[in-house]
């Protein structure tokens, strides 16, 4: 029934339920939470599919209610500090803190997404903080510069909002970030593959959503002519395992950290084995 901390240069505090609650870096503290939520795919009209993201409602639903958490701390060498979060659904996650790293790692397994209710689902992971980002966020542009995105806004024309959620989703090839100028802090989330990302429709300030998995039951009529419903090895749907690295740093230092880290994520050491010693 007590909070506990994983601590090194970066401190993460978990609440009594095993959920991440606070991050402290350089004596600056922010409140943070992480949860998996889902959109329901539209089942009438133009559906969500391979080409488009069109949820039936402009809001998310929680994926899961209950969670069992296990804490692993290596007291002797400090190599391992992690919390395994097993949800009572099709989602599981490991949160790791590396003694030598400046980031928190989220290693998640999602799927197979159940569709017994005949509703397609698009799963997001949400990182909510108390950062004030003035309704703006930044996404990379396939290895070029970070582009500034603003909620319900386009820089070169007057934007009329017809689809409030998908109209604010952008491609995230390697990272998405929000900045708080008053606190002089930037939260950057590095992805291990291209995903869709945005601010959270339910909390435009301080919160980032990344879509990690989708399973849909209708074609979107843009030419693929089949729903986005990969069967997986057992025919029950695809399971994904992915990784996000969350960096929290000052505005001045953020780019210095996330640029080499992106290279390290995309070009990991090549590991091979031989039996001779």
């Amino acid at each position: 029934g007590q909070r506990f901390q994983l601590k090194d240069g970066l401190i993460i505090e978990f609440d009594s339920n095993g959920k991440i609650a606070t991050m402290i870096r350089n004596n600056q503290s922010i409140s943070i939470s992480n949860e998996f939520r889902l959109f329901h795919g539209a089942d009438i009209g133009r559906h969500s599919g391979a080409y488009i993201f069109r949820p039936s409602e402009q809001k998310t639903f929680p994926v899961t209610e209950k969670m069992e958490a296990t804490l692993y701390v290596d007291q002797k060498f400090g190599i391992v500090q992690e919390v395994h979060q097993q949800f009572d659904s099709f989602v599981g996650q490991i949160i790791r803190l590396d003694k030598q790293g400046d980031y928190v790692e989220f290693d998640f397994v999602v799927g197979p997404i159940p569709v017994d209710d005949l509703i397609g689902k698009e799963i997001i992971t949400r990182y909510s903080t108390n950062l004030a980002n003035d309704e703006t966020f930044f996404t990379d542009s396939n290895g070029r510069q970070m582009l500034r995105r603003r909620w319900n806004y386009r820089p070169s024309w007057k934007y009329e909002i017809e689809e409030p959620v998908s109209g604010n989703y952008y491609p995230v090839n390697s990272r998405i970030a929000i900045r708080d100028d008053r606190k002089s802090l930037q939260m950057t989330i590095m992805t291990d593959r291209s995903q869709g990302g945005s601010l959270s429709p339910e909390q435009i300030n301080g919160s980032v959503d990344l879509m990690v998995h989708r399973r849909l039951l209708h074609d979107d009529y843009f030419g693929v002519d089949e729903p986005l419903n990969e069967p997986g090895v057992d025919g029950h749907g695809l399971v994904i395992r992915g990784r996000h690295l969350l960096l929290l740093d000052t505005l001045e230092k953020a780019a210095e950290k996330h640029r080499p880290l992106a290279q390290e994520m995309f070009m990991e050491p090549i590991i091979s084995f031989t039996s001779s010693m």
């Binding site: 009594s16 339920n17 095993g18 959920k19 391979a50 080409y51 929680p62 899961t64 209610e65 209950k66 969670m67 069992e68 958490a69 296990t70 804490l71 692993y72 701390v73 290596d74 002797k76 060498f77 190599i79 391992v80 992690e82 395994h84 097993q86 989602v91 599981g92 490991i94 590396d98 030598q100 790293g101 397994v109 197979p112 843009f222 030419g223 693929v224 002519d225 089949e226 990969e230 997986g232 090895v233 057992d234 029950h236 399971v239 395992r241 080499p260 290279q263 390290e264 070009m267 050491p269 090549i270 590991i271 091979s272 084995f273 031989t274 039996s275 001779s276 010693m277």
Partner: protein
């Protein structure tokens, strides 16, 4: 040259807009995966040959690669046998304090030693059930052997020995016990 060209060509095909965005039909997606996998196998052969050229006195064996390490599965390391682990850093900058995770099975003790036979601190940690139960994962690994590599120079190679024994040794990896508690939303 031909072995590398297979992957170059496959990557060329993957620049088609359907492959970039994932808007290809499912049978095309399967074919893309097959094409990439076969090209990657050819490149693994090239890497193996390179090691043999660089270290001609040390190994004549083909290197084994583990494409299922992403689901904590690796037949090379999880059968309770000792292995040499080779790490190649493809980056133009050095990697510092890299954590390496190798799937292993229960019932053995493991030591990690560097090229100079110095013991490297290592720990064992459980692979969570939600990873072990991933459909299609055919693995006997229930734990990961975790150790830290202090430095791998740019374009550099580091090698470590993973020694599996039936009896506990003084420097065997310590198993980390989890502290479990149930939470509610």
């Amino acid at each position: 040259e031909m072995n590398i060209t297979r992957l170059r060509e496959a990557m060329g095909v993957m620049q088609h807009h359907d492959a970039v965005t994932g808007t290809e039909k499912q049978h095309v997606a399967f074919n893309y995966a097959k094409m990439l996998d076969s090209a990657m196998q050819q490149c693994r052969h090239v890497i193996s040959e390179s090691y043999r050229k660089l270290f001609p006195t040390q190994t004549k064996e083909q290197h084994e690669f583990c494409p299922y390490l992403n689901i904590s599965s690796c037949p090379s390391t999880e059968m309770g046998e000792s292995r040499t682990i080779h790490l190649y850093n493809p980056l133009g900058h050095r990697l510092v304090n890299r954590t390496i995770r190798v799937p292993v099975k229960d019932g053995y003790y493991y030591q990690v030693r560097d090229q100079n036979d110095h013991s490297i601190p290592a720990v064992l940690i459980s692979i969570p059930e939600f990873v072990r139960k991933i459909p299609g994962r055919k693995s006997v690994a229930t734990k990961e052997l975790v150790f830290r590599v202090p430095i791998i120079e740019s374009l550099g190679i580091r090698r470590f020995h993973m020694i599996a024994t039936k009896e506990k040794q003084q420097d065997s990896a310590v198993e980390i016990q989890g502290e479990k508690f149930v939470g509610h939303k």
